[in-house]
Subunit: 402 residues, 2 copies
């Protein structure tokens, strides 16, 4: 048995100076885990972040109810989640460097570590065995066993890292904010502590976020310091990083980085990408073969997430403050508005049922999660949750780059 | 409580004359179901058909082991499976008209009915509430509650039905072999016993199978009696059924219907479809915007299933007798052969891990299921199972048209 140090206080904020000492700590309950609350399949479960309270809610999306809350997960502003391949364990990436493994059947934390001082986002490897976290402080990327959060690899790079994604071939790809680089780390060979690293330098100034296309082929980083996006074709890394979308990033005026649209908020459907314009009240439409702009949709505010219903028939858009109580839905073919919803103040996130018949929506400032029928746009139910942000269905376990 | 008749013998073949009397019978164990064998997530489970023995095997794809066998499922030649939205229940469509609901956590049958005399294939509705079965005898389609297999709707149509699929908007779509029609049945309104039906007549002679594109937009039926395929754009049913691929179906000579390629065996990747040619040793490449042929790959035999690795990077092909001990894998971009595998006699089916790192393969006549790494093409393990055919992972629960 591996020896484990026990950290008594879940979710404690710790300074960067304590990081290296704590990086391998693992918080584990002293008593054995209780039996799962209920025998059930895990395909229809979701986890929603309650950001202000440092907790998550587990949602049964069939019964449309919150079935449990799990507290003690630290600073959950900008938190995200990935799932184990059996769809039983949720890995929560907190802003405070916390990495928390939750058993959604037992409805409790199994492992929690503070792996960095300030982190943003993570990913799970193609085979589900590795979980990677990108760090602002101390920078770099750390990689852990998904079974127990023991550390597998430490990849320092003298830079904040952003836009960390998994890619086919047991790879993680990420960008270096301070150095303008993209790194591919390949864990497919034997020595997981020393992955093969491919570096791409001079990709542009200050990549602030990135995305990977749903097929896992194109990795694209947004640049805070320059216009255009840095694109890497993972089928052809030998061709290097190219600049695409030369006008992307040119808003009316430069925006602070926290106002930049999320790059995960790109919708890919039917050979087109629907993309939030930066600093403009528009959704850009790109041809994903040429990556040229082929159209625009005027919208009511600065779009944040632009999401396609899973069948690609509809495009759903939410907005930055002061327009963040609105949702606009467009026909992806005619580009006409189908409906203008006003769920309430602070619509932060949308998550479609994997086959698209419904959409879950977090309405932060009314402390509600809403569920809509995507054909009738009828509000089906509201769930109470303090300051909800991200909502993540377990079907993500089976997707590349999510 | 609904009263249930108990059918004592699982898997009994019954004649067409007994169908109407038996259609509502439900086989339920007299004792309560045992507890699941193991508390676990269901995201990494698969069910494989052992066709000669009327049983299925439940596979843990993480541990790469068969964890249970469930017997008593009748005639499983050409059987297929869909999953409940919680990925706990598998619905097995048998050739004998049997519809069987299996709890893969409890590892046993919960309900089984003989709903027709000779059936082929079924589907589960977008919201997971309805299971539909298409029948050769007595023809038509029957629809059942997914929770208990009670009948919801009977849709007679004086024809064998084929190519039954689910489509967005709580629809089922199927084709009428004897009458040359395509029907859309819409269960989104209140009265599930009387779905709205849209009929398309004169679509071509003897549709023998059909497919729906992964986005749920295009329904395409192969025609046994004519060349070309009948295509229905479900985004625009008002435009009617059009004929596409005018040369599709023109083989060197006419083939018996049982030798026709499976239309589920089309691979869609990156705006192209990779399609088994009929009666020729070729894979056709189609542009999915224009549905025009844009290329061909010569292969070693009559292809049956042409499948894309989930990232679209590779095309895997298996073959009809006498070449059915082979697998060829092609690069989807260069169209070059990457590897020629010889797993053994009777390679019937392939199922990729949802993120593509591995592929499961049934090798009927050596009574084995093989698992390959899709990057190295290394054989990772073999499992013993008598006459395996279809392999179905639970991630299908979350896909349109599967």
């Amino acid at each position: 048995m591996k020896r484990r140090a026990v950290l008594s206080s879940f979710g404690a904020l710790i300074g960067a100076s304590a990081i290296s000492a704590c990086a391998q700590l693992e918080t584990t309950a002293s008593e054995p885990l209780p039996a799962p609350k209920e025998i059930r399949g895990t395909g229809d479960l979701a986890v929603a972040i309650a950001r202000a309270d440092g907790k998550v809610a587990i949602i049964d999306t069939t019964d449309q109810k919150i079935i449990a809350e799990v507290p003690g997960i630290g600073d959950l502003s900008h938190a995200s989640i990935v799932y184990s391949r059996d769809a039983r364990f949720a890995f929560v990436f907190g802003r405070d460097g916390g990495l928390t493994r939750i058993d959604i059947l037992a409805q409790r934390i199994t492992h929690r570590i503070i792996q960095g001082g300030n982190s943003i986002g993570g990913a799970i490897s193609q085979d589900g065995s590795l979980v990677a976290v990108s760090n602002y402080k101390p920078g770099g990327v750390k990689v852990f066993n998904s079974s127990d959060l023991t550390q597998v690899a430490d990849i320092p790079c003298d830079s904040k890292t952003v836009g960390l994604v998994d890619a086919p071939g047991q790879k993680f790809v990420f960008s270096l904010w301070d150095k303008g680089e993209i790194w591919i780390t390949d864990f497919s060979a034997g020595n997981k502590a020393a992955p093969a690293i491919t570096r791409f330098e001079n990709i542009g100034r200050n990549p602030y976020d990135a995305l990977i296309t749903p097929d896992g082929r194109y990795y694209m980083a947004g640049l805070f310091g320059e216009d255009g996006m840095a694109q890497l074709d993972l089928w052809h890394p030998e061709k290097g990083v190219t600049r695409v979308l030369p006008n992307y990033g040119r808003g009316e005026k430069k925006m602070p980085v926290y106002k930049m649209p999320h790059l995960e908020g790109w919708a890919m459907a039917g050979g087109r990408a629907f993309v939030p314009a930066v600093g403009r009240h528009e959704v850009l439409i790109l041809d994903t073969n040429t990556w040229q702009e082929v159209g625009r949709i005027p919208v009511l505010g600065q779009p944040v997430f632009v999401m396609a219903r899973p069948d690609g028939r509809q495009i759903w858009v939410n907005f930055a403050h002061p327009d963040n109580s609105n949702i606009q839905v467009f026909d992806s073919e005619t580009l006409e508005q189908l409906v203008h919803l006003k769920p309430g103040p602070g619509v932060l996130h949308m998550e479609f049922a994997p086959r698209g018949e419904k959409v879950w929506m977090s309405v932060r400032d009314s402390h509600e999660i809403h569920l809509y029928n995507t054909d009738t746009f009828q509000l089906l139910t509201k769930l109470s949750l303090p300051s909800p942000s991200g909502i993540f269905m377990t079907a993500r376990a089976h997707k590349i780059g999510l």
